[in-house]
């Protein structure tokens, strides 16, 4: 028991040190504010996890430009919903980027992001992607469309749409593809039930699901095109298919109202939207929102039946109708499946 006590003390000391270190970071930030003028400023970038590699390159490139010369960054990456909630509860942020519009809306409601954040030509979005199907090398199960995921014997991996807000893109892509093919809403729901029946693992995030898949589980992983490209860039032995009927993923970013350095934060957002910035996103597998950006070296086929979340009623309506933890369509499907699974 004495060893346990000592360990507990050591752990508490470590935790305390971490808290002090955090405090120290915050105070350095404050001191640069006080000095003001032509000195360097530090911006706090809070983003969802997947574009980390892209942002690291974007920051480097931005610091080469005149506007970014004296700008430093603290960067935080995590699950989109968690990051949004953290900023809403007071985590200081100058630049925020999320995978879902609802995470931005939360900050508008909290008075941290101006309601005009989505009034630029791309409606506040900085990157696009499409929901795609990642398969084993050579696509041995010959998976081409979302309908193939509901066939018997296909092992599907997708993150849990309740823990990973971004996994909702996947579910809505599958559902919407059926409407696109002329099915009724009831038929699309029945399809969703069959498809979810084939799901054997529901990880808590997109990255964890990718890990599960590359670890050898499953025939097909529903994922974003940029994640599939990321996996291939990392030498993973996978293929991916962009179905003809699929959903356009749109990721928002904004500068906060509460920023102490709005000029520099805005300059960074402008750089991210510029063709130079968009090119860096393209190199990391994201589809640029800017039509004039250079996408050399990337293959971004435009699916013939591409639809948007607006076609399905927008995120607010979709969240209530499909993902309400009590009455949502997906909640009910999982309940029905669960009862049979539990036996």
């Amino acid at each position: 028991m004495f060893t346990t006590a000592r360990r507990t003390i050591a752990l508490s000391a470590a935790a305390l040190a971490a808290i002090l270190a955090l405090g120290a970071c915050a105070s350095t930030d404050a001191s640069t504010d006080a000095s003001g003028g032509g000195k360097t400023v530090t911006l706090s970038l809070i983003a969802y996890s997947t574009p980390q590699a892209a942002y690291e390159k974007l920051i480097k490139a931005f610091q080469q430009t005149p506007a970014g010369k004296n700008v430093k960054f603290t960067q935080s990456y995590g699950a989109s919903g968690d990051q949004s909630r953290a900023v809403a509860s007071g985590l200081p942020a100058d630049y925020v980027a999320f995978s879902l519009e609802t995470d931005m809306t939360r900050l508008v409601d909290a008075g941290i992001v101006a309601p005009t954040w989505n009034t630029d030509e791309h409606k506040g979005m900085i990157t696009n992607s499409v929901v795609s199907l990642v398969t084993r090398k050579g696509n041995p199960k010959n998976i081409k469309t979302f309908a193939d995921l509901a066939k018997p014997g296909v092992d599907v991996i997708t993150p849990n749409p309740f823990s990973s807000g971004s996994a909702r893109w996947n579910i809505m892509a599958a559902y919407g593809s059926q409407l696109k093919e002329g099915k009724t809403e009831a038929e699309a729901t029945a399809y969703l039930s069959k498809m979810l029946h084939n799901v054997s693992v529901q990880d808590d995030s997109g990255r964890a699901a990718l890990q599960t898949f590359t670890g050898g589980k499953g025939d097909v992983l529903i994922s974003y095109e940029n994640e599939a490209i990321f996996a291939q860039q990392n030498g993973q032995d996978i293929d991916y298919v962009v179905p003809d009927d699929t959903l356009l993923i749109e990721n928002p970013a904004a500068v906060t109202k509460t920023s102490k350095h709005p000029k520099q934060a805005k300059a960074f957002l402008d750089f991210v939207r510029s063709d130079a910035g968009q090119k860096i996103f393209a190199q990391n597998g994201y589809r640029p929102v800017s039509k004039t950006a250079d996408t050399a070296g990337q293959n971004f086929p435009v699916p013939s039946g591409l639809f948007t979340i607006q076609d399905l009623g927008g995120w607010d309506a979709v969240a209530t109708k499909f993902f309400d933890p009590d009455k949502g369509v997906v909640t009910k499907i999982e309940r029905d499946l669960g009862v049979s699974v539990e036996k």
């Binding site: 060893t3 849990n160 823990s163 990880d203 589980k217 993902f323 933890p325 699974v341 539990e342």
Partner: protein
């Protein structure tokens, strides 16, 4: 902790193994009034409140945000009852396995001349030191679909149990081990000289001495298993109604902006853990008085 329990003489400690078995002399249980004690007591109570009681209170408070009916609804959704059943069931199994295996490991470490004992002794603590998500990843590599040992526990309920066994291993070992070390060997020798067989010595001499520590370690292992998140989140597959443990369900509720639901299920976890901790404490007091 032990100061608080002996001075107030009330309320079962949450760490029953941290103090020796309750003393037989009743006089020591009477509160002692002195300036130093009052100061110490005040400090301990303040510290406990800031670190433990107030945050736990906040959880219980939030669980009542939508009243008793909201609370009841949150803990009786099919997801919640299924996940609580799985979590409590797996924790019971894990606690019982730990009770047997942990005691055996402690015994071997203390009594047997095991080659490389110091190495094993250090290894026991590793599950504490490792971030549990790393533990999950490691287990997935060894016992996942690509298992080099051709043992696949992943994405099934057995995977949950394996992960929980990994993270709770040290509790029973580390509570039983010091008691075994302190145990007076002369008692055993005396019993042997009076003709007692080894089995009798174990049952009548050793077991009564280590039962309180075994109970304490088991209770801790159970409580830890109930709350485990990191190691199970990767290996279980998180399939609702099948392999989703309570902590992951709570996380899902938080991610779906359902704070009340998350707090309600957390409150149930707290209650069950409390009942088990208190229950084993009472049992051990009873055993101590009887032995």
């Amino acid at each position: 902790m032990s100061t608080a329990t002996t001075t107030t003489g009330a309320g079962p400690g949450l760490l029953p193994g941290a103090r020796p078995a309750p003393p037989a002399t009743p006089s020591r249980r009477r509160p002692l009034h002195g300036k130093g004690t009052a100061l110490g007591l005040g400090f301990v109570v303040t510290f406990l409140s800031v670190i433990v009681l107030i945050p736990l209170g906040a959880v219980v408070w939030h669980s009542q945000d939508q009243g008793l009916s909201g609370f009841w609804h949150a803990i009786t959704t099919p997801e919640a009852t299924s996940t609580l059943r799985l979590t409590i069931g797996a924790s019971v199994i894990v606690a019982l396995v730990n009770l047997v295996m942990g005691t055996m490991i402690a015994w071997v470490l203390v009594r047997d001349r095991l080659p490389g004992r110091a190495v094993f002794d250090t290894l026991i603590d590793l599950p504490f030191a490792l971030p549990t998500i790393v533990a999950g990843l490691a287990l997935l590599t060894v016992y996942g679909p690509n298992s080099p040992l051709h043992l696949n526990f992943a994405y099934a309920r057995s995977g949950v149990v394996v992960a929980l066994l990994f993270v709770t291993l040290p509790f029973v070992v580390r509570t039983v081990q010091p008691v075994l070390l302190e145990l007076d060997r002369e008692m055993e020798q005396a019993a042997a000289s009076l003709g007692a067989r080894p089995a009798t010595i174990f049952r009548r001499i050793i077991l009564p001495n280590i039962v309180p520590a075994m109970a304490a370690g088991t209770a801790l292992a159970f409580a830890r298993a109930m709350s485990e998140f990191g190691s199970t989140v990767l290996i279980s597959g998180n399939l609702p109604f099948k392999t989703q443990v309570a902590s992951v369900h709570i996380y899902n509720q938080l991610e779906s902006d359902n704070v009340t639901g998350a707090a309600a299920v957390s409150t149930i976890l707290l209650l069950v853990s409390l009942v088990v901790l208190v229950g084993l404490d009472v049992l051990q007091r009873w055993a101590a008085r009887r032995g």
